[in-house]
């Protein structure tokens, strides 16, 4: 039998700036939309609140809460390794192999040749989007931040903040 010291089992939440700390009841790492839906159903059935985060890039306690459910869209080792070396590690964004929540799909053009809609997975990070954008040499966001440690969901909030 493997004996697990209690402190090794704890998965505390800490934001990017290391100013907010929580201890969620459960930390889920889904890779599909259906997974997220089922987590929400589990939360409803068991009277939990659900909080979500990518790179946890906010100074406010918006991303997590003690004894509630926390969904992390970035794996736990990555979000606790700062700065993230991803921008230095060679690699490509491969839309054929990414999980459900990391997909990037171009949709119809609203202004031909200039603007179009794009469906971006909530777990797509800034670096992953940059790699996709550079590989395609065609489309990018009209506003962005020069920051690796942020996911698209948080990035949208950043734009609003600006």
């Amino acid at each position: 039998m493997l004996i697990v010291p209690p402190h090794l089992g704890e998965v505390p939440f800490e934001n990017w700036g290391q100013t907010v700390k929580h201890l969620p009841k459960f930390t889920f790492l889904p890779t599909t939309v259906r997974g997220v839906q089922n987590i929400v159903l589990f939360a409803i059935a068991n009277n939990y609140r659900v909080r979500c985060a990518g790179y946890r890039h906010s100074w406010s306690p918006i991303f997590s809460q003690d004894n509630e459910i926390f969904i992390s869209f970035v794996n736990l080792h990555t979000v606790t390794t700062l700065p993230d070396p991803m921008s230095l590690i060679p690699g490509e964004y491969n839309p054929a192999t990414v999980p459900d929540l990391k997909t990037i799909e171009l949709k119809e053009e609203t202004v031909p040749g200039t603007k179009r809609l794009c469906r971006v997975g909530v777990a797509v990070t800034n670096e992953e989007f940059r790699r996709w954008s550079v590989a395609g040499k065609a489309w990018a966001f009209p506003a962005d931040v020069i920051l690796v440690e942020v996911s698209r969901s948080e990035h949208k909030l950043t734009i609003y903040a600006i």
Binding site: L2, L23, F26, T27, T32, R34, N38, M86, I89
Partner: protein, 189 residues
């Protein structure tokens, strides 16, 4: 109405081309205070290619390294690299040798060097390597290990993330991690 100083901050000026041109025009005004910076490299190899939209990562990185090559911070960091081969590779790259040529024979082994920040940053690679190796070894053994029939998994919620209810969402609890529960279950099996 806005004053002249306010009008100089018009939003249409807060865009890349204008900002880069301003930097190009004024950056050397700092040369008295920061006299170790290689301003021609900064302007010609970093800024101007971006303006001309001829961005090449290798040129940019080489330009950045040349820009700061003679600063105390760069020299201090460079001296902490305890591998002569890597230092020579970096110098050769800065002097114009292509990245592929520099790494062709000896490779590029940053993760093996012990500079604390670099070692930590590249720990992700080590973790990924461990993860892949573990996954290969355990692939057959853990096919159904997360099924609630195993008593060590019962304390963790089982939430499926596919239509056929075969893949379980990875989950950690405040007292038990699922990965450790897997290890427990395997030992019991």
């Amino acid at each position: 109405m806005g004053s002249p100083s306010q009008s100089s901050l018009r939003s249409e000026l807060l865009e890349r081309t204008h900002i880069l041109k301003e930097i190009l025009s004024h950056v050397e005004e700092y040369s008295n205070e920061f006299d170790k910076i290689d301003y021609p490299s900064l302007k010609n190899e970093v800024l101007k290619p971006v303006l001309a939209e001829v961005f090449d990562p290798e040129t940019q990185i080489r330009g950045f390294l040349k820009t700061f090559r003679h600063t105390l911070v760069y020299k201090a960091a460079f001296s902490k690299i305890d591998n002569q081969q890597l230092r020579e590779q970096i110098d050769a790259f800065i002097d114009g040798k292509g990245a592929k040529d520099v790494t062709r024979e000896a490779g590029f082994h940053v993760a093996s060097h012990k500079s604390p920040p670099v070692h930590h940053h590249f720990s992700l690679l080590s973790e990924l390597k461990k993860l892949v190796l573990s996954a290969i070894e355990l692939k057959e053994a853990v096919k159904d290990v997360l099924h609630p029939k195993h008593k060590h998994v019962r304390d963790l919620p089982v939430v499926f993330e596919d239509v056929s209810d075969t893949r379980v969402v990875e989950v950690s609890a405040d007292t038990i991690r699922s990965s450790l529960a897997i290890a427990n279950t395997l030992l019991v099996l």
